[in-house]
């Protein structure tokens, strides 16, 4: 999986992107967020409040119950504030 981070989530994690091999037990966005939090800090603190965590899979907004695969580009970011 190609993970991309934006805004204060990018700053909190300290990276704009990283590559991660999808663990077999991770099948949904929620599983991925839980997996990242299980890695400890800084993920645990940055991704704790799920209401502020939005996700796009392959550049399309998705809900947290969306299925993911190891080929996906997965972006994790706070609610958008353009316009």
């Amino acid at each position: 999986m190609e993970l991309k981070y934006f805004s204060w989530i990018r700053e909190g994690i300290g990276a704009a992107e990283e590559t991660l091999k999808k663990p077999d037990e991770v099948t949904s966005v929620t599983d991925l967020l839980n997996h990242l939090c299980s890695l400890g800090e800084p993920y645990r603190t940055v991704l704790k409040e799920r209401v502020f965590v939005r996700v796009a899979v392959n550049q399309t907004h998705v809900p947290h119950d969306h299925d993911i695969s190891d080929d996906d580009e997965i972006a994790i970011f706070p609610p958008v504030t353009g316009g």
């Binding site: 990018r10 550049q59 399309t60 972006a75 706070p78 958008v80 353009g82």
Partner: protein
């Protein structure tokens, strides 16, 4: 038909209107919306806009295509800037053209509502003493409800 640009440079509203009018005399209504950097308390020095290259263009095209299916538009132009801007600078431009004003007004309103809630941009404000990310507003997601049948 819609034309989308995501750019750091400023835009020229008059030139953009002229380009849409060019060779299309069936246009009877042109609506423009311009969003600018606001500094209410004279404390803002700069605003920096981050975006998600690739998804930003895809999402803006998706929103514009939906507007074109809902209203009989003759033209649609969206420009959104990124990078570091100062108070008063232009951020976003939406222009819609149609034969009659209702379609142009409503489509421009729709485009801005969905752009604010779905286009992957994030604003960060820098004052003399502080730097902070702008929070999303609940009213932006509430605004989408009126477009759902």
């Amino acid at each position: 038909m819609a034309s989308i640009s995501v750019q750091s440079e400023d835009f020229d509203i008059g030139a953009e209107i002229d380009a849409l009018k060019q060779g299309n005399t069936s246009i009877g209504a042109i609506v423009t919306f311009t969003g600018t950097v606001r500094d209410v308390g004279s404390t803002l020095k700069t605003m920096t806009l981050e975006h998600y290259p690739g998804m930003t263009e895809t999402e803006l095209n998706r929103i514009a295509e939906e507007a074109e299916t809902r209203w009989p538009l003759l033209g649609c132009r969206v420009i959104h800037r990124y990078g570091t801007l100062e108070p008063g600078d232009n951020i976003v431009l939406v222009i819609t053209t149609s034969s009659h004003r209702e379609a142009a007004f409503e489509a421009a309103d729709y485009l801005m509502d969905f752009l604010k809630s779905n286009a992957p941009f994030w604003k960060k404000e820098q004052s003399a003493t502080d730097t902070s990310w702008v929070d999303a507003k609940d009213k932006d997601s509430v605004a989408l409800d009126r477009w759902r049948e």
